[in-house]
Amino acid sequence: MSDSPLPAAIYRTDRALRDGFWIRALLLTLALGFLLLFLFLPLIAVFVEAFAKGYGLFLESITEPDALSAVRLTLLVAAIAVPFNLVVGVAAAWAIAKFEFRGKSLLISFIDLPFSVSPVISGLVYVLLFGAQGFLGPWLKAHDIEIIFALPGLVLATIFVTFPFVARELIPHMQALGSSDEEAALTLGASPWRTFLTITLPNVKWSLFYGVLLCNARAMGEFGAVTVVSGRIRGLTTTMPLHVEILYNEYNSVAAFAVASLLAGLALVTLALKTYLEWHFADAISAKSRH
């Protein structure tokens, strides 16, 4: 800038509006250094460790039966929990965004509640209800129903943890859109279902997809809540994150990181899709509700 032909007055105005070169350099270095240290190094470490002993061992680690069954279980849990939260999230968003009623803000706080509960507690509450010594434990045992240390427990804990995601994305978007499209469709003679399916859903499809994407990422990656309800029965009740933990604690670092790299891959795909959605449908997704 020093050899710039600009008159001195303009140069000084510029200085008052912009950070000086050294400030910029300092802040940029701090930001990049911090992100490198805390974000990029761990991510790189996952893949480096996964391939530390070569491609063969990596492949072996992710194709052994226990790993495969962990993948299957993770997909199964997500396949139940995500659609459940999709339906409930859409219902909640419809009620909250389209109607005025007393107690609405309390309802919103309740829906957001799982975000502020420790994942461990999210699992614990189900153990207290359905565990062997839980409130309903004896009854469940008498009727031979297994919830804790079995699939239903994993699903319940996952639903709890991911409960707010879809509603959280939809509510601000639906509120911003208002109700005039629906009113127009109804005055034109459309039935309620037709209005919902052909007007409301297409209007919010991108924020819905965004919510489902985040919900799914969390569902597949959840660790704390499922730790508590899983019982970690190898090959039976271990999802991928739990399988990672078991392998790591057995000092089987390569296998642990190999499975972890699959989850990291999922995270990267999620991030890429999420970023794509934010860039291309920014107006359809309320940027403020990113989390």
Binding site: L28, F34, F99, E245
Partner: protein, 296 residues
């Protein structure tokens, strides 16, 4: 005037016609009952009833036992570590989160959009994956651990390691709450300040930063709340030595594995009450900010 006959009357609203159910405003849109029923049933079954069970279980322990659990040295140490490390990491995140948000919003440099996207990595990366990655980097023989070892600084398997993990998972909160406010802050405020003769520093500290404080506080509390309850990313790097590097959520898991449901419930309840207080704090900050600044 050759129009049709006009009749018009206009009278005072002397008839009191209050709608029967005044808890909701009538609307012609369909599906209120159904959608609210689904929402409330799911919310009750999945969230509210199970949480109530937790409080019930904790309360059933009896005052003496509850007091004993709370005051036990191990519980106290775990809570102190969880809250202390969370506080420290949230402060660090507030400082660096603000810098990162500033850099992302105000500076143009190659790779900025990529960096912006990467900030959300801690949201997307499963905590267990982050946990083992951080543990391997900061272990004495890890990439960074080995650099620090000669200076006798141990990160992994100490409270410092807990903080590292909590910084990682709390990072996006501050950036993502401050960023939109910075983006929306009109350049003309700064221009006005500059034209009024303010120096750059004065503009930043007197004009720009005060507008960001509520968002910064919100992000700080969010990061703190998340850090207090964090489990997955911490337990691998913490070493989990009782009374030294054992966090409260882990203590809950350990009590549970010992079938000490009451012990687990009491610790969990304390943490929940703190979480609720934090939610209230956030709501307080936001309504205060809305009242004063018109935005969050």
């Amino acid at each position: 005037m050759a129009g049709p006959s006009i009749s018009f009357t206009s009278r005072r609203g002397d008839c009191v016609a209050v709608t029967a159910s005044s808890w909701r405003q009538p609307s012609i849109l369909p599906g209120f009952g159904l959608s609210l029923a689904i929402t409330i049933s799911a919310l009750s079954l999945i969230v509210l009833i199970p949480l109530a069970a937790l409080f019930l279980k904790a309360a059933s322990a009896g005052p003496a036992d509850i007091w004993a659990i709370i005051t036990s040295a191990r519980t106290q140490a775990a809570l102190r570590l969880s809250f202390g490390a969370a506080l420290f990491s949230a402060i660090l995140n507030a400082i660096f989160g603000l810098i990162i948000a500033w850099v992302l919003v105000r500076y143009r440099f190659p790779g900025r959009r990529l960096l912006d996207a990467a900030v959300d990595l801690p949201f997307a990366l499963p905590t267990a994956v982050a946990g083992i990655a951080l543990a391997s980097i900061y272990a004495p023989n890890g990439w960074i651990g080995a650099l620090l070892a000669p200076y006798n600084i141990k990160v992994a398997y100490t409270p410092l390691g807990v903080m590292v993990a909590l910084v990682f998972i709390g990072l996006p909160f501050v950036v993502r709450t401050v960023q939109p406010v910075l983006e929306e802050a009109d350049a003309d405020i700064e221009e006005a300040a500059a034209l009024l003769g303010a120096s750059r520093l004065r503009t930043i500290f007197r004009v720009i930063l005060p507008g960001i404080v509520p968002a910064l506080l919100t992000g700080f509390v969010l990061a703190f709340a998340r850090a207090v309850g964090e489990y997955g990313s911490v337990i691998f790097i913490a070493g989990n030595v009782p009374m030294f590097s054992e966090i409260a959520p882990l203590l809950i898991v350990i009590r549970l594995e010992q079938f000490d449901y009451a012990g687990a419930s009491v610790v969990a309840t304390i943490m929940l009450i703190v979480s609720f207080a934090l939610i209230l704090a956030i709501n307080g900050i936001q309504s205060w900010s809305r009242g004063r600044l018109g935005h969050v």
